[in-house]
Symmetry: C2
Subunit: 251 residues, 2 copies
DNA sequence: AAACGTCGTACGACAATGTCGAACGCGAGG
DNA sequence: CCTCGCGTTCGACATTGTCGTACGACGTTT
């Protein structure tokens, strides 16, 4: 965890922005107390963020909320991210075919990060937001990314993620069992989360490779387990794997 | 343009992030020179942004690009923004019906800001990104927002937006003519951009109101003019207006 | 109505902190 | 093997962010 030079005021400003991930609007006083800053310090930072459009002040109650400028940055990521831009049209086709929610994910710091998401008509309430993080061991996409990871990295991540907390009825809580599962995923080319992360939820994922053959992302379909017959699992698996290969071919 | 207290280092850090809207990756030296900072100052800011996940360093060439953390913020905006979250399902239905691109926009500082976008199958290349800005006088959504604006605000914006630059074959370049157009929009409840912004492109927009009846957003469908017969214009207009009303009813 | 509490914002003084130039270690290219 | 340019580190200075205090505005309470 080397740090190097950290500019305090910048870090604080970013902390302020992050507060708004869980709150729609905040007052200067609330922000100051949550981050242990003096009101005037908080105000200076907030005012700077607002001046640049990253926060906006509601004229009614003079509270602050996120500004639209942050959308610009998010859009820039999507645009510049080779995976996301290439995968988008394929994701849309998947949504149309199965009417279930489709996710695109990568690994970052041992977590699954959702870089794009398209909801389907059947839209079970899946509270995964773009940019959100989830654990790897209990999600289809996470296990998929683990399965194709360089061994050294896998070992490092595995040793850091214990214990495997139970999240759903079928969560794999034993490391040895997880290793077997990863092996099975490599053999099938498909990763399935059968109520391991969220009760009632089923996900099917497949790996996306860059032109060097390294797995750099995973794509998945998620839906209510009740609505997915075992026959459908086969059809979805096939199509997800096929889609992942198509996307890989474009990289 | 009152400023108040601006924290220099924070403003500089935000400037750095904004550089990445037009560049996929940048080196420390490039950033320093573009913003007229010393290399070490730039490095401190960059390092802070990277440490917090808003920038990432490519281990290959040690250049920096936007980090996935910015997606979190963008997602938070979408989630907290009442208009965006309410409108999403309706937008998806519009896309399914017409297979054309659907936009959701608001006005900010006299510009149209795109807060959501869903591409349709026919997906003409429309380079509008989420968070991007466009002028109001030559876009369907912009004219729509102008048409239902409080008079004082309208006058202020009109006086600031002259001259009306020609963008497409039918761009309205005369203020008086624009006022007539706004009147027509109010009468029809529908705003149409017929190659006024981009040659070959046609957009149809309708206003979204909050529960006080104020117009707070506009929704639109965009497509190649060649692919939209005059009969289709009627059908689309009707459906866009209907959708906008439905969304308004949810606010 | 007047007193109170609390809010966002402004001010000013101190020292903590961001800034800068110079220098280091490293890798690529000649 | 030397050189160039890169990202990064270091240390000293003074700029700048920080904090307590205070002001004016608003809403609520008494």
């Amino acid at each position: 965890m080397s740090e190097g030079r950290i500019i305090q005021s910048v870090a604080r400003a970013l902390n302020i922005l992050e507060l708004f991930e869980s709150s729609r609007d905040l007052s200067v006083t609330e922000i100051a107390s949550r981050l242990d800053l003096s009101k005037s310090t908080a105000f200076g930072l907030i005012n700077t963020l607002a001046h640049k459009g990253y926060l906006e002040q509601n004229p009614r109650d003079s509270r602050y909320s996120l500004g639209l400028k942050v959308l610009r940055l998010g859009g820039a990521v999507q645009r510049h991210n080779i995976i996301a831009s290439r995968a988008k049209p394929f994701m849309e086709k998947l949504v149309q075919e199965f009417s279930e929610t489709v996710h695109l994910t990568v690994e970052r710091n041992g977590m699954v990060v959702y870089i794009d998401k398209i909801r389907g008509d059947k839209a079970v309430f899946i509270q995964s937001a773009i940019g959100a993080e989830n654990p790897m061991y209990c999600t289809a996409v996470g296990k998929c990314l683990l399965a194709y990871m360089p061994e050294a990295k896998l070992e490092r991540l595995l040793s850091k993620m214990q214990p495997l907390e139970r999240r759903g009825p079928n969560t794999i809580t034993d490391i040895a069992e997880l290793r077997q599962e990863l092996q099975a995923i490599r053999e099938r080319g498909i990763s399935i989360d059968d109520e391991e992360h969220v009760p009632g939820l089923m996900c099917i994922a497949a790996p996306i490779r860059n032109h060097d053959g390294e797995v750099v992302a995973a794509i998945s379909i998620s839906g209510a387990k009740a609505g997915i017959s075992s026959k459908l699992v086969g059809r979805i698996s096939e199509k997800v794997a096929w889609t992942a290969q198509q996307i890989s071919g474009e990289m």
